[in-house]
Symmetry: none
């Protein structure tokens, strides 16, 4: 029984991987079930034993990835490090996840927006959850005096999400190596860290733009 489930699960994965590949190459609407099936080495009809319909495939890709991402983000949010480090780790998490997965990055940054209905109906809730976690980190940083409190946490969450998305988009459109993406992420980390520092804070406060990981602010 468990074995059967494993088998199912493995075939499901195979189809999802094929779909990511085809979606990345063709876009959601131009992708053909036939091609996904062929890429996954299954028959057309088999796909419908694992997914309700074509939309469901895209939704599943998004949901699977987003759940995993949100789970890891939650771990970071609840870890015992400074808020600045949390922000930095989140950036590293998101960009690092894409190492060797340009196809996935393309699906995430481009294809996910291909169906308005899909975006509003399925993606919005998980996207909100994502923003919530990010905003919570910011808010906690502010409450602990680590971040300037003048910024609305949710606005920063949106902006940070967007900044990372922008980095990913240009990475996908160009053909650069993944390392550059990570370096870009570090620049953004630093920019955020500095920008978030409390204004007019204690004159003596250290102003290193980039604190060493683990050095909690207090």
């Amino acid at each position: 029984m468990q074995q059967l489930t494993d088998k199912r699960s493995r075939k499901r994965e195979k189809i999802l991987r094929a779909a990511i590949k085809v979606f990345a190459r063709k876009g959601f609407y131009s992708a053909r079930i036939k091609e996904i099936a062929h890429t996954a080495k299954v028959a057309d009809g088999t796909i419908y034993l694992y997914f309700k319909n074509k939309d469901d495939i895209l939704i599943s890709i998004f949901a699977d990835r987003m759940d995993a991402l949100n789970g890891k983000m939650l771990e970071i949010a609840e870890s015992r490090v400074s808020s600045a480090v949390k922000v930095r780790r989140i950036i590293e998490l998101q960009l690092g996840n894409l190492r060797g997965h340009r196809d996935l990055a393309e699906v995430i940054t481009i294809n996910l927006r291909q169906s308005n209905r899909f975006l509003k109906q399925y993606a919005a809730p998980r996207f909100n959850h994502y923003l919530d976690i990010m905003a919570r980190i910011v808010r906690e940083g502010q409450e602990q005096g680590e971040f300037e409190s003048a910024y609305p946490p949710r606005v920063l969450a949106c902006a940070l999400f967007g900044a990372l998305d922008g980095l990913m988009l240009t990475w996908v459109l160009g053909s650069r190596e993944h390392q550059r993406l990570m370096r870009a992420g570090r620049s953004v980390s630093e920019l955020m860290a500095r920008g978030l520092e409390p204004a007019g804070g204690g004159a003596g406060a250290p102003r290193r733009a980039f604190r060493r990981e683990g050095s909690s602010r207090r």
Copy 2:
């Protein structure tokens, strides 16, 4: 003759406006030419007197808007104000442009990514031009010692583009008033301004997060 051109031009605009409305409501692929024509109060066939095909409509929306945006950005880039002010003005420009144009915002943030082919073939060049202008502003700020020079200009350009795009996206997905978007923009302006300040700057340097417009840094 000029009158004829005006007439053509006005009808073209009418169709574009209708298309923006329908694209925003349905998404590019689910939008029907029939509905665009109906919304524009012209016959289906008339659309093809003004546009090569459905793709061409989306391309035209993007091109028209992007050319206008890049034009204004260039003006800002070449104006005689501090780089920080330039950044702030650009943010205001982009978000301000959308007042009363939520449909357009939706098309820009969502629909524009609906055709991979379209994105890579038509959008990429103009998008690059946009990034070039932005990166140039950053670079000049760095050269004049106004901005921390450790950041790669183009990375910042991508991140800023993305941050604004993220703000627009959440504004579009929610249904908030335009004013909130502008306020969010000001937060991002401030964050950028602070984040961009030269690190380890003179201890006595004023640290107002947001300098008054026109006050050149030196």
Copy 3:
């Protein structure tokens, strides 16, 4: 008034000539009114001042030509020469008419069959008239003992029409000079003349395959 009519008539001709050219190049169904109008150097709408619709243009080409042909055939039929000569002249008439008019030949042999409805409704009557004249010549030849009377005249008419059409078709499909078509016509004339000779006729009857023009058989 007459002048006006002449002007009309001339423009009508111009359109017809343009249509023949375009039909020959594209075929009836693939020919575009726009292209005919452009070729004739008139506006699209103008065509509809001279012809009821696209079908009417093809019909007019056929009718004009067929009426002229039938008129000349009638002249030949009623001329005072031997029936064999009449047959020969008719062959020369039909093939000779095409000198410098390959486009017309193409329209006649190919395009005329492009609309079943057209063929049955409009062409059939005139085609029958054509066959009538031809059959009449054969019948008269038989009554005067010049032709073998065992052949049904109408069958011969159909066959002769077809034979000439076959010659025209291959001439059109290939790209040979018009002279070859005329020579081919002479071969067919001779074949017909011989084939039509009365069987077992008077032993002393001259058996020249090709009698000199004007030499009436009796």
Copy 4:
């Protein structure tokens, strides 16, 4: 596997037969895929599992028939009978083939010429093959002294093709029984036989217009 192929083949035939019926009734351009599908009792889309497009259906009808016809003509050409008998048999073959197939005759004589592109691109080669076989029979007849050698073989081939086509066309346009077509064919056979006899041949040569089948000329 063989069974699958048979099934495919049978369905293909069903569609072709339906197409012949519909083409004959409406003409190629006015025929609707929907009607062909309905007549063949399959779904619209099914047609595209067997044929590339609408053109391909017409091409297949022509190719199938023409290949069969050319095959049988080759048999006749290589059979050991007199050339005159070969000619007669070919005439009988072509007209006899149409017994019970008026629709096919209509498609062959009329619809086949409906697409210039089709005619020149696909039909011309097979048509030439047809003419080659016919011309070869004539030439061999001439070389054996059975036929008058003054006629260019290919011209006769074209003319004979045309004559038969003319017979078929009038048969299709009228609504006569097939027997009349066969009788007409015999008249043409006889005409050809006589017309082809060597001119001024040996005085004593028998001049029966129509030799009994099998009686080789020498």
